[in-house]
Symmetry: C2
Subunit: 163 residues, 2 copies
């Protein structure tokens, strides 16, 4: 088993959230919030044709996380769960994953909305979000079933229309 | 900017694909293919309650990738695109992302289907897949618009039912 894997940020994500206290505790709280991704100029060529996609996955490093916990009590619940059954940042490998809407590009800068990361977050990767690959109908969403009324409908609906 | 980020695999993904030539070139080719995730025992506690979720994101390291390319011609197209506008593994940080269906758990082993990774792939993270957070209606899917008829419908439909 490979023991150490070394990555380097491909850029930085800028957002309105300067401190952890500013952060939305649910993705819905990030709706409409604007951010800016600045990709390192040496990777600009990798962005060719990205402006054709309305939504992108961003993978990033939770750089402010200084601890790992295997059991956590998420914001959305009062009970603790294994960290891999949550999106909490205190993970063994603190990699974050979000879907953002791409609203514009100038060279190595991407304007995004629905950003839910801290200002200054190191960006690891960008991938196109493609419903054919990325949309699944779930049978169960575990502890979130009770915790979030909004999760009652397991399928995409118009709440995300235009977002 | 943080310059080096070091992660360690939390486990290994086993799949029917022993060589790159065996791999499906489209996610649809992975449908129903069974795999097994073996999480390192020291992280077992992090899996508590994960069996409540039918679908999981897995993040992994493309361990067989030895090069980085900023422009690639994907399997699904005859034209080249920036690597961040594709899912090609030859990325600056070779992190893979898939959604799999969880069919069972025994301690630190997770049985999964719809696996599309090479046997022996180092696992970086597991997150619950939650439609409320993860399903978006796209306006555009870039070069994939022309390349894949199946992408014509941008929304979830019954094709994934039961998968």
């Amino acid at each position: 088993m490979t023991d150490s894997i070394v990555y380097r940020p491909i850029g930085i994500i800028h957002s309105p959230y300067k401190t952890l206290e500013d952060m939305p505790i649910q993705p819905a709280g990030a709706k409409g919030k604007e951010g800016l991704i600045i990709v390192r100029p040496e990777f600009s060529k990798g962005l060719r044709d990205i402006e054709g996609f309305s939504h992108l996955y961003i993978l990033y490093h939770f750089h402010r996380v200084k601890e790992t916990r295997l059991e956590v009590t998420p914001f959305l619940d009062s009970k603790s769960h294994g960290v891999f059954a949550t999106r909490a940042p205190v993970r063994p490998n603190p990699i974050g994953l979000s879907v953002v809407r791409l609203t514009g590009r100038s060279d190595n800068e991407l304007r995004i909305v629905n950003v839910d990361v801290l200002d200054g977050t190191p960006l690891l990767d960008i991938k196109p979000y493609v419903p054919e690959f990325d949309v699944f109908r779930t049978d169960a969403v575990g502890w979130l079933e009770q915790s979030s009324k909004a999760v009652a409908s397991h399928r995409s609906d118009d709440r995300f229309s235009g977002s």
